[in-house]
Assembly symmetry: C2
Homo-oligomer: 407 residues x 2
């Protein structure tokens, strides 16, 4: 009997060897919370990133994209602020994002192009670059502090309305030896990454060629961050960045790729699930699975439509097994759908099948819906493919948070 | 100086000559409210209808479509129940919808194909046809009662969670004489008609050839009922039905068409606005106008995306002039968009223009947002076409209504 190839472990971005991190309060947030995070690689790391597809791209997105291209996929550091998105801020915003990278590079002694930047918070407010400039020395002073080398502080410094920090790490046994992957992410509203103000940062101590690193990141993100939704809103600032330090001495090539991807996907999935569990006002994590679809595109489109339906999300919040709302969404989702062969399940409880309600099961379903981890399924009766999307319920608390966000 | 060609007036479906209506309590709703409505034309009327595009079509939709085809577009009556959608109810549901039409036809002494049926309420519950059968004689007994010939009772009998009944009527001066158009509608959740449990019933005493009647209805609905959203949910039961009695003795032909369409659109718009103002939990009516679009399709797509954005709707609910959320939606809407040439306005107050925030205007905008009738505008900076969509804000009350709908 062999040990499992991938196992989860405690920790985040500093679990892999070769990384140090920090999170400090630079005064960007009015509440004086942690708001400036650093992740620094001891040596140049292979770097890959996926960015928001929103046409209004925030200044740090534009700058990180430029730096990644100019460096050929190498980075020494990621610098992130919360409390201000630096989006819709024009040339001034671009200038501030560049200065954020330059100041970080100066502290490290590397080129600005080797620094990736990210921001999250309110859109349309000028980045207080003077506070960031003043805060960076403290961040560098705190770099790598504590038994976790600063990972947990960094994970806290990137939070906005998040109710808890999101960290994840995994250990892989590759042919060449042991490799570690770690990550941190923040939510928690404006979440339907069409990689959205979802930020994810993942590190590994594997040595991974840049092309392979990019391919693995896109594949992992597609199955994880791009398969979640809190409120159907794709942000101007979403990005996931991945740095590979190589400090394990283990190289990932075509042979180790599948296992590396499995580990990376596992870390990304845990972070993505954390974002949904910590979604604004969320009280339940909901796994939506669509089966019996004519195509993978149909399966995903329908699962996203159900996961974003206000009527489905409020029914789940209220613990109401109102399966008719799932059928109504499937019917309007613009996918192949045969109501007479369709089915709706909650957990393993069948509520509708072959055109016939099973309301005798409603009391059992209502009991099931009292839980905090829910699965709902719709079979479209139109084929054999399936897709899964993760979402949360919609509560009055979501409305309260977002009606008062800036007041 | 001539009198305006179209003027609004009091009343609903019975404002035009040749129609009587009624609304009675048949015991379908648990609260014993009015739940069975009749609209009867004294003579065979030209009939046109638009139906939901949801692939899960409710039984009454299937039956009304059949009847309209079989009768060649002639109808004597519309029978509507609230309290049960008769959707996802299989063969039994179809049978019940047919019986509802047959019983109505028997009372009138016409063919069942001359009766249109509609239902609204919970999905997946069997229609209590025995209650409808027992209630119809009372409805016929009450037909045409009172100074308004039963129109107001009928408008109340089609309500579910609607906070108030929706009626509208207009008087047109055509070349041949005066013509009246009247209508009633119900909301108030599961509203984004894609011709959507929105029901609309419109009558006129003009004599309109069936082909022209259908063309006018599709054109009017496109600009009114299909341009509103409460929660982005297209129902299984949506329909708008239009009957023309000809009782005015005035015929609408190609010459009178434009004026007739104007009057019809005016009645449909007032009903559609009523649905939005009465949207579940709504406290504000919001007119979303997108200008500067590259195409009409882009303008409509972006306006719908903004009108359905949870973050925009909650910000407006909270009176927060958070214009960045409108830009973020425009950026993810999948339309041509130039952030540097874009603009966001609330009322006539500019908050963002040419890539630059105008936060000096935020206090004035916050004051404006205290109103109950709001306009927000986004200029995409990508062309010269525009579209308008009407929506409402999102409140904690919406969540409460829909978390508890069946309990």
């Amino acid at each position: 009997m062999t040990a499992p190839a991938t196992s989860t472990m405690a920790g985040g971005v500093t679990a892999p060897r070769g990384f140090r991190a920090a999170g400090v309060a630079a005064g960007i947030k009015a509440n004086k919370g942690l708001d400036l995070a650093l992740v620094v690689s001891d040596a140049p790391a292979a770097a890959a990133a996926v960015f928001t597809t929103n046409r209004a791209q925030a200044a740090p997105i534009v700058v990180s994209r430029e730096h990644l291209a100019a460096s050929g996929g190498t980075a020494r550091a990621i610098v992130v602020n919360s409390g201000c998105a630096n989006a819709c801020t024009g040339d001034e915003g671009l200038h501030a994002a560049r200065e954020m990278a330059e100041e970080t590079a100066r502290q490290i002694g590397c080129s600005a192009r080797e620094v990736l930047v990210a921001s999250t918070g309110v859109i349309g407010v000028a980045l207080p670059i003077d506070k960031i400039r003043a805060g960076l020395p403290a961040a560098f002073g705190a770099l790598g502090e504590g038994p976790d080398r600063g990972g947990a502080s960094a994970a806290r410094a990137i939070m906005t309305t998040d109710p808890f920090p999101k960290e994840s790490a995994a250990r892989l046994s590759l042919a060449g030896g042991e490799v570690l992957i770690g990550g941190m992410a923040k939510g928690s509203g404006m979440i339907e990454p069409m990689m959205a103000t979802m930020l994810g940062f993942v590190t590994t101590d594997a040595a991974v060629p840049q092309a392979l690193l990019g391919r693995a990141l896109r594949a992992a993100v597609d199955e994880t961050f791009n398969a979640i939704t809190v409120d159907g809103e794709c942000s101007t600032n979403d990005c996931v960045m991945l740095l590979a330090s190589g400090a394990s001495g283990v190289t990932v090539d075509d042979r180790g790729y599948d296992l590396f991807l499995e580990g990376l996907t596992s870390v990304c999935r845990e972070l993505a699930m954390g974002i949904v569990r910590g979604g604004e006002g969320a009280t339940k994590l909901v796994t939506v699975t669509v089966t019996g679809a004519a195509s993978i595109a149909d399966a995903r489109k329908c699962a996203k439509a159900i996961a974003n339906s206000l009527l489905v999300k409020t029914a789940l919040h209220g613990g109401d097994p109102n399966w008719g709302r799932l059928i109504a969404v499937a019917g309007r989702a613009g996918v192949a759908f045969e109501p007479d062969r369709a089915a709706v399940t909650m957990g393993s409880i069948v509520l509708f099948q072959d055109g016939r309600p099973h309301d005798e099961n409603a009391p059992q379903a209502a009991e099931y819906l009292k839980g905090r981890n829910l699965s709902v399924g719709v079979n479209l009766g139109a084929g054999s493919t399936s897709a899964t999307v993760w979402t949360c319920d919609l509560s009055a608390e979501y409305v309260r948070i977002n009606a008062d966000y800036r007041t």
